[in-house]
Symmetry: C2
Subunit: 232 residues, 2 copies
């Protein structure tokens, strides 16, 4: 079994997703917040390409979540911060969600056999899931507007380290990600805060989101796409 | 002045090259071999998109160099190995060259103000050139068939370290490249040999090319594009 890493959606055309498990990674913050949402009782997330689609689903009982350029859009219940999903009653709620990078990657991964959600918050659960499935794995980093980013790459490296005995790793992107995680792991939050995306976050005043999203394996579940929905 | 890194040609559309110096990097082996060629007396390299164009130029006195998938094409004088350029009389010769990744990147960089050639063999000279030019810099990694590779990234990191006092570095790709170079620098050849591209090389029996290409700053010049030619 092979483990590969796609460092940005712009690199996707060089990879074949069929018969593979794809782990979509958008650490700051879509895939982290989705995990928080499930922990708060969300029954399903329905990823949509644009905010208008979320508003249509609001008419039929969905909660709406929309983020662009790091900020919650006006007129929507939730944004992309994990704290939105901690401080709102979400028990048994369906959420229609659209974000700058993360939800787009879910759509781009359609050819995969299976699409799951990865974040540091459920790292060990994702590793366990991949081992049990016995299928090639692709860590798909959402990046930032098609550019490489550090935080998603670090997660790919952390996961690869956990799977390195069970999977063949011959892909330079994964080797780089593992070495970067090695460098960062003693102070993950500190390392991420020097990154460009985190600096953008500082300007938005949401540094506490970073500390929250860097917690390791506080949840023991793996959200996955079933049809057009993310469920547990 | 800003320093940015493009980790693969597939990421190029996310960057604006105008008014910038672009350093094209194809460590294994186009940009290394081009440096060796100039040191052996080549007067100019003319990069061409396909082998047929090189053969046309042979009719008017050019030496031909053509590589695809790591191997020299039959019917051409030179391939892509640095040793080809050490062991052939190249004094005052013009070379028409086409390679899998490197020459393509020269063409893709056309919007830049200036395009120069970077390799470990002329690392210090490239750094000095960038400092003197007083212009934003983009390290453009050729990668391998649009995928990320380690050796080109390591060069971007090495160059960024030399320029970190003179340039602003806010780009995650560059931060990652610098940390990877930190990890690799004590044994650059050994580090590269674990990479996928190097493993492909091992199958081709050209490991000695890697050792050669990892020598630091043995040449003190910077090849640059002038019109359609690379010259010193």
């Amino acid at each position: 079994m092979y483990f590969e890493t796609i460092l940005s959606p712009a690199l996707l055309p060089q990879y074949n997703l069929s018969r593979k498990t794809v782990i979509v990674i958008d650490i700051l913050r879509a895939t982290s917040s989705i995990c928080v949402g499930f922990n708060s009782g969300v029954s399903l997330f329905h990823p949509v390409a644009n905010p208008e689609d979320a508003l249509v689903l609001e008419q039929v009982g969905f909660i709406t979540a929309a983020e662009r350029n790091g900020q919650k859009l006006q007129g929507f219940t939730l944004g992309n911060s994990p704290f939105d999903y901690l401080n709102t009653d979400l028990n048994q709620k369906k959420v229609a969600i659209t974000t700058t990078n993360g939800t787009r990657c879910l759509h781009l991964s359609r050819e995969a056999d299976e699409i799951i959600i990865g974040s540091f918050l459920n790292l060990n659960a994702v590793a366990k899931y991949c081992k049990e499935k016995n299928r090639d794995v692709i860590a798909f980093c959402a990046g930032w507007k098609d550019k490489f980013n550090l935080e998603d790459t670090l997660f790919a490296g952390a996961l690869a380290q956990l799977l390195s005995k069970d999977f063949k790793i011959e892909c330079d992107s994964t080797l780089a990600a593992m070495d970067l995680f090695d460098k960062a792991k003693s102070d993950l939050s500190g390392y991420i805060k020097k990154a460009s995306h985190a600096q953008r976050f500082e300007r938005l005043g949401i540094e506490k989101d970073i500390d929250f999203c860097m917690q390791l394996s506080i949840y023991d579940f793996v959200p996955k796409m079933v049809g057009e929905n993310l469920v547990l």
